[in-house]
């Protein structure tokens, strides 16, 4: 009878003694996921993204054995993939082909990963951009998001863009921009082009350089204000004169491409109007409207004397068409009104008015592409007109500030926030 007692005691002692492992913290799974393809690339809608899209997934705790099941899913843009699912190879790679869709500018491909037991691991997105046709594509990329000026030549098929400190040339696609480098292009500020295709660049240090071969080479012009180390406001009038404005100096013009400069007389009334637009009319007179209010003046002696022309409202911009009809943009109470004058400014009649969200300086207000004018009214949006007599609302976007058109006819609208542009490719190119 002693043995059973001892057996019970031994059994109870054994089961009451449990060996526990020491406290420990360890990573039992440690996966890394990524697409080999660079995110944020730009393509045309319907393009293939690179030659292929390659996804990488590996468990660093067990890199040789732990394959991962990957499910590719297009979650935005409406594109398609050729390999919708599969397992990563020994190197942790799985490739597919991704054709972008046309449903949205931003397009996403998602790789949903599972371990070999079918447990969900995570989802990894690859975002690319597909530029569409006849839609506005909103871009916050660099450098185009901060562009401030543009020149385009439809004949020579090139476009240059500036973003305050660097000049870029439009690349193989209208959304691709390649920097233009030249020792003379030091801190470029503005970019303009005359009717002969000569490109002028003013700098933040008050220099003026020009290119006569579409921006391939550059030469220095005579500094319009030699004693002034700061930037100035240049303007190219339709007679290819180069005008230079600086608030503390007389207005200057150069009729030989910036090599020599002529001062307008001191006390000239147009100086008070600030920098602005200058037109040479067919009778040889000059028409000037500064950036400030109500500064339309005409000179019949090449700028020595000026005659003020009264304008309706709070005029801030003028445009002269081939028929020398004046189109004046004026601010009214809460509105912007476009006026027309067919008698050189003696009378103006209103054509169209809008109510902008805000008012500011007018820049590239009147832009022509093909048979149409596109008129940007900051704080309102873009109007479209075949003849500037009738208008239609082309795009209401209260955040717009400026508008450019490249040599392909792609509209590039600029947001006031300085980091957003809107591309619209109407040509389909």
């Amino acid at each position: 009878m002693k043995k059973p007692v001892l057996l019970i005691a031994v059994f109870c002692i054994i089961i009451s003694c449990a060996k526990y492992p020491d406290p420990e913290v360890k990573l039992v799974k440690n996966y890394s996921f990524s697409f080999y393809n660079q995110t944020g690339q730009k393509f045309l809608s319907g393009d293939m993204v690179n030659d292929s899209v390659t996804f990488y997934a590996i468990d660093s705790n067990n890199p040789q054995k732990d394959s991962v099941r990957v499910l590719f899913e297009v979650v935005k843009g409406g594109g398609s993939v050729t390999v919708p699912s599969g397992y990563t190879n020994k190197s942790g790679l799985l490739s597919t082909h991704w054709k972008l869709g046309t449903q949205s500018f931003e397009q996403k491909l998602r790789a949903i990963t599972y371990d070999t037991s079918g447990n969900y691991l995570t989802s990894t997105n690859l975002t690319e951009y597909g530029f569409g046709e006849n839609v506005w594509d909103t871009c916050t990329f660099s450098p185009d998001g901060s562009m401030t000026g543009m020149v385009a030549d439809t004949n020579s098929r090139f476009t240059l863009m500036i973003d305050n400190n660097q000049i870029y040339r439009e690349g193989a696609r209208y959304y691709l921009w390649e920097p233009v480098s030249d020792p003379l292009l030091v801190s470029p500020r503005t970019l303009m082009m005359d009717s002969k295709g000569i490109i002028y660049v003013s700098t933040w240090t008050g220099e003026l350089v020009k290119s006569m071969d579409r921006g391939n080479s550059w030469e220095t012009c005579t500094k319009p204000f030699p004693d002034r180390p700061y930037y100035f406001y240049p303007y190219i009038s339709n007679d290819n004169y180069v005008w230079a404005f600086a608030w503390d100096h007389p207005i200057k013009y150069s009729k030989d491409g910036g090599m020599t400069w002529t001062d307008l007389p001191d006390g000239n009334p147009v100086a008070a109007g600030g920098f602005g637009d200058v037109y040479r009319l067919k009778d040889g007179s000059l028409l000037y409207h500064g950036s400030g209010c109500c500064s339309l003046n005409r000179s019949f002696d090449n700028g020595l004397t000026w005659t003020k022309i009264e304008t309706p409202g709070y005029s801030i911009k003028i445009f002269i068409n081939e028929k020398e009809e004046f189109f004046l943009v004026s601010q009214g109470p809460g509105t912007i009104v476009i006026y027309k004058s067919t008698d050189y400014g003696q009378t103006f009649s209103p054509l169209y008015s809008v109510a902008p969200k805000f008012v500011t300086d007018m820049q590239n207000t009147f832009n022509k592409q093909g048979s149409f004018y596109y008129i940007i009214l900051p704080g309102y949006g873009i109007l479209k007109s075949p003849d500037l007599n009738t208008y239609e609302v082309y795009w209401v976007n209260n955040n717009l500030n400026n508008l450019f058109i490249d040599h392909n006819g792609v509209l590039i609208a600029k947001d006031w926030n300085m980091n957003t542009v809107y591309y619209r490719n109407n040509s389909g190119k």
Binding site: I8, P21, P23, E24, V28, N30, T122, N125
Partner: protein, 456 residues
């Protein structure tokens, strides 16, 4: 004052009880091993139970047929070893292992203490061929030597803060086997728990279990006395029986938190009971059971040892909370039927928590677009500070007692017990509680299936 009056009264009763019986003095030597079981802790981690030597001599003064007093001189060395994985700078609680992810150190810190001990114990013996005895009393310990691990030395600046003496309780039970007229071999299992915090700024108290073998010698005993005692022993066996038993108990905590429930935990039960017959076949049962109670968790939680009302549980836990108790019930046993093989018993019990721990594993998953990590935390935390030191409740039981050989019986019983007290010590959590968390309540329910041998 009531306590002292009770002790004095009890001693007088023992003396009066002993008057009518022969008295004997027994001495013995013993040697064995102790296994450290530190009491209280300052933070989580695992206290490894380490063996150490124990030896001593004792002198027992028998005050009668069953009762006696014992004292002696003991020597022991207790080795403590603490293992954890934590960031030593930011470590707060076990649940914050993951939040302090950046740096982990696997630390093992050791310390040991050597004592000279003077026990004063009341002994109870049940005479039979294999004599069973129980002892309980106080122990005065005097520190003779010690060494500390670097962490404790550094953290507590304890060079001069170690307490030089200790006062504690000792519980023991064992058997002795006759080797001749005067010699007996002894086997004892003891549990010793200190009552004083042994270093300043710390909650730790000494604790250990001891397993000893010894030789006992009886003197001042005449042959006549021995003969009479054996006769009395046979007579006594008709009235008092001992049941050694072991088995399995399943315990659980019925509380729910946010719809999450605590799952049952199975654990061992081991002990003995003394059955003192009363009239009409009924009997009075006193018992000492060593049982493991607790619960398990298999859900999401921010803590390892309880569910927290938390919108963002950090872990998927698969853990157990195990608390070892010495349960001392006082039961009235009533036989059922004519054969009196079936019985029913019920009565109150007192539970003394010996230790408590939190074990298991927890997983924490973090994923982003570029990564997925699963962190496994192997958990072993001593959590005695979260479990109250004692418990009271009521037990119900039934069973069958079947004679097998001679007067031996096999006893199969089923016990159900409930706790009256909330065993969770919420004050130990302190600042860890948040406003939305209702806290925790632990009221153990236990069902035990026991198989025993009833020895006359």
């Amino acid at each position: 004052m009531k306590k002292y009056n009770a002790i004095i009264s009890f001693v007088l009763i023992i003396f009066c009880y002993s008057v009518g019986y022969s008295q004997k003095i027994t001495t013995g030597i013993y040697s064995g091993v102790n296994f450290s079981d530190i009491q209280g802790q300052d933070f989580g981690g695992k206290w490894e139970s380490k063996p150490g030597p124990v030896q001593g001599i004792y002198l027992n003064w028998s005050l009668g047929r069953s009762f006696g007093l014992q004292t002696g001189l003991g020597f022991s060395t207790v080795y403590y070893e603490h293992r954890t994985t934590y960031n030593p700078v930011f470590y707060i609680t076990p649940s914050y292992y993951n939040d302090m992810m950046p740096v982990y150190y696997q630390t093992i810190d050791k310390m040991d203490f050597s004592f000279m001990r003077l026990p004063l114990l009341l002994t109870v013996s049940i005479p039979s061929s294999i004599q069973f005895n129980m002892k309980a009393g106080v122990v005065f310990s005097f520190l003779t030597d010690h060494s500390l691990g670097s962490y404790y030395n550094y953290s507590y600046s304890v060079a001069d803060n170690i307490k030089k003496n200790d006062f504690g309780y000792l519980f023991s039970s064992g058997i002795s086997y006759p080797l001749g007229d005067r010699f007996r071999a002894t086997l004892n299992v003891s549990y010793l728990t200190g009552r004083k915090k042994f270093m300043d700024y710390s909650n730790m108290k000494h604790g250990s279990s001891e397993y000893t073998l010894g030789i006992e010698y009886e003197f001042l005993k005449k042959n006549k006395t021995l003969k009479n005692q054996n006769q009395e022993s046979d007579s006594a066996s008709k009235r008092v029986t001992i049941t050694y038993y072991g088995g399995l108990n399943v315990s659980w905590n019925p509380q729910r938190v946010d719809g999450k429930k605590y799952l049952p935990l199975a654990g061992p039960a081991l002990g003995f009971s003394v059955n003192i017959p009363l009239s009409h076949g009924s009997s009075f049962i006193s018992r000492v059971s060593f049982v493991r109670r607790g619960y398990s968790m298999k859900d999401s939680s921010s803590f390892f040892y309880r569910y927290l009302k938390d919108d963002k549980p950090v872990y998927a836990v698969n853990t157990k909370v195990q608390a070892d108790y010495a349960i001392i019930p006082i039961l009235i046993n009533i036989p059922l039927g004519k054969s009196q093989k079936l019985y029913f018993n019920t009565g109150p019990w007192l539970g003394l928590r010996l230790n408590a721990r939190n074990t298991g594993v927890a997983y924490n998953v973090n994923h982003s677009e570029s990564s997925y990590t699963m962190q496994e935390t192997i958990i072993y935390d001593d959590i005695e500070k979260f479990i109250k030191a004692n418990d009271v409740g009521w037990a119900f039981g039934c069973g069958v007692s079947v004679p097998v050989v001679k007067n031996y019986k096999v006893d199969i019983s089923l016990q159900y017990s409930i706790s009256f007290k909330d065993d969770f010590n919420s004050s130990a959590e302190g600042y860890m509680q948040n406003n939305s968390d209702p806290g925790s309540v632990i009221r153990f329910r236990t069902i035990s299936l026991l198989l025993g041998i009833k020895i006359p």
